[in-house]
């Protein structure tokens, strides 16, 4: 593909819905116990609020309907009849009492939901270390055996039915971890460590996005949580632990050499090669991910090429520089990256 042909291709890729398979991100369609607790509290509180809203508007309509009309010249009623005033005062007091009772209901519901959220069983949990960067997510899957630890970026795979404990750090500014279908938010705060626990009960692709304003590309700091059956998860994790294989295809080999002798390896790491920088996402298994550029683009060869060629056209302000590679060099690099499954 010629360099100048990339831009239209990129636009076409962005426009096609297939580029971004529908990922769930709906707080009211929970896929796990945490989001489900919150959703049921939500419906309780919304029901109460709806009743109150309708009642207040009905009272207002009643008041406006019953009061006679007047002009500016109508003499004001200085001392309304005390009996009527008392009656209305009673009405106000009763309405207030009802409001207080309803507030207490919401409070109790809120506190008990909080309890429920805190009591997610955590046996046999998957431990993930998640670090926020401007503007991508670095994930480290912890393991008691150091050689079984592995890194990935912008995509968490979790086993269905097993709790996940995510430890949150930030490398620069404050970010916030938010996957609406699974749980509420937790901030990633520089200098502090936080933790969030959740469980996915249904397999699926749940989209998350940074929820704390973090600078230029806050809009595209997305993250996918892919819940898979335990067997598939184990296979995935095993694959992620393996270093990158040497490519067999000559074009991909050339791509690898370009990667390692050019600018790419200044920031990216590929396990099994000399590239070991950690300033940018780990690319050891980049081809296995559904999306690139922190959820911005579907992971297709065309998009990958467009991204490498001119990331600033896709995510202005992102920290990846434009790379002026000759078209066949670009293809070679893409071919190499496509082998990193």
């Amino acid at each position: 593909m010629k360099a100048h042909a990339i831009a239209p291709a990129l636009l076409a890729a962005l426009a096609s819905p297939a580029a971004w398979p529908q990922a769930a991100h709906d707080a009211l369609q929970p896929a796990g116990p945490q989001a489900a607790h919150i959703a049921s509290l939500w419906w309780l509180a919304v029901a109460i609020c709806a009743v109150v809203f309708v009642a207040i508007l009905a009272a207002l309509a009643w008041a406006l309907w019953r009061a006679p009309r007047a002009q500016a010249s109508t003499p004001p009623e200085i001392s309304p009849p005390p009996a009527a005033e008392r009656r209305h005062a009673r009405g106000v007091a009763i309405a207030l009492g009802v409001c207080i009772v309803l507030l207490v209901v919401i409070l109790v519901g809120s506190i008990s939901t909080d309890r429920a959220l805190a009591s997610l069983p955590l046996q046999d949990a998957v431990h993930i270390d998640l670090t926020g960067h401007q503007w991508w997510w670095e994930a480290t899957y912890d393991d008691p055996q150091p050689d079984r630890i592995f890194h990935t970026a912008n995509e968490l795979h979790v086993p269905v039915g097993r709790p996940v404990i995510v430890t949150l750090h930030s490398d620069d500014v404050i970010h916030s971890f938010w996957v609406p279908s699974l749980d509420g938010k937790k901030d990633l705060i520089p200098g502090r460590t936080a933790q969030i626990e959740f469980r996915a009960d249904r397999p699926g692709d749940y989209r998350g996005q940074c929820a704390e304003y973090c600078g230029l590309q806050h809009a595209f700091m997305a993250l996918d949580v892919i819940a898979m059956p335990p067997g598939e998860y184990a296979a995935w994790a095993e694959a992620q632990r393996r270093p990158a294989a040497d490519p067999a295809d000559p074009q991909a080999r050339r791509g690898r050499d370009l990667f390692l002798s050019g600018t790419c390896m200044m920031c990216h790491a590929i396990l099994g090669t000399t590239a070991s920088a950690r300033s940018a996402p780990d690319l050891t298994h980049v081809a296995s991910r559904a999306r690139i550029a922190a959820g911005r683009l579907a992971n297709t060869p065309e998009n990958l090429a467009a991204w490498i060629h001119d990331p600033q056209a896709i995510k202005p302000g992102a920290n990846m520089p434009a790379n002026l590679l000759a078209p066949d060099d670009l293809h070679a690099v893409v071919a190499y990256l496509e082998t990193l499954r």
Partner: protein
């Protein structure tokens, strides 16, 4: 605003006010825009340098390499832009420049926050130092770092000894304190000695 205010005076006031406001705005504008530009798309200038590795042995330290046409004045370099300098500072960390130069105080490599510049303090010289390397350990980053980023590094390196406008230089960074922030450094007048070494 006030109906009691005589209308002629009000007009005069408005005219004067507007004129002064324009002057003031123009002044601030001139100073502000330069500092605050964020150029996200420094499109690489077509160049065949990247794909054709240079034969480094031909290079003399301090001499421009063959085919090297990049100069600060060509418009790719902007040390008045706070954003470019800040990017330079980030890249200084990312590319592990501090591995040799520490935070500018020098370690294996020379200090960068003092007055002595072995190979010249002007942007073009610093650029070629980074691009082509220098004897005794400074590697060449040609082909490793895109030119636009090298210019950002140049601006940052110069800010370390206060050679760029303070308004554009970085403030203190998050993390353990060390040297005073670049924006507070007094200019260290360069005592260039590149003529001696290069000649």
């Amino acid at each position: 605003m006030s109906s009691r205010f005589p209308s002629r005076a009000r007009h005069r006031l408005r005219a004067h006010g507007a004129a002064w406001l324009c002057v003031a705005l123009a002044l601030v504008f001139a100073a502000g825009c330069e500092r605050e530009t964020r150029r996200f798309d420094p499109k690489p200038v077509p160049s065949d340098l990247r794909t054709q590795p240079q034969s480094l042995p031909d290079l003399q330290p301090g001499q421009p390499g063959p085919g090297m046409r990049e100069t600060a004045s060509a418009g790719r370099y902007d040390e008045k832009s706070a954003y470019e300098v800040a990017q330079g500072k980030m890249l200084f960390r990312w590319y592990n420049c501090s591995g040799c130069h520490a935070q500018g105080g020098g370690n294996m490599g020379p200090a960068l926050m003092d007055t002595s510049w072995i190979y010249g303090s002007d942007p073009d010289s610093v650029f070629s130092t980074i691009m082509d390397g220098r004897p005794r350990g400074m590697p060449s980053f040609r082909g490793r770092i895109p030119e636009a980023q090298v210019w950002e590094l140049v601006a940052y390196v110069r800010s370390m000894s206060g050679l760029i406008p303070n308004e554009a230089a970085p403030n203190r960074d998050e993390g353990l304190g060390g040297a005073p922030p670049e924006s507070m450094r007094k200019p260290q007048p360069p005592k260039d000695s590149d003529a001696k070494v290069g000649g």
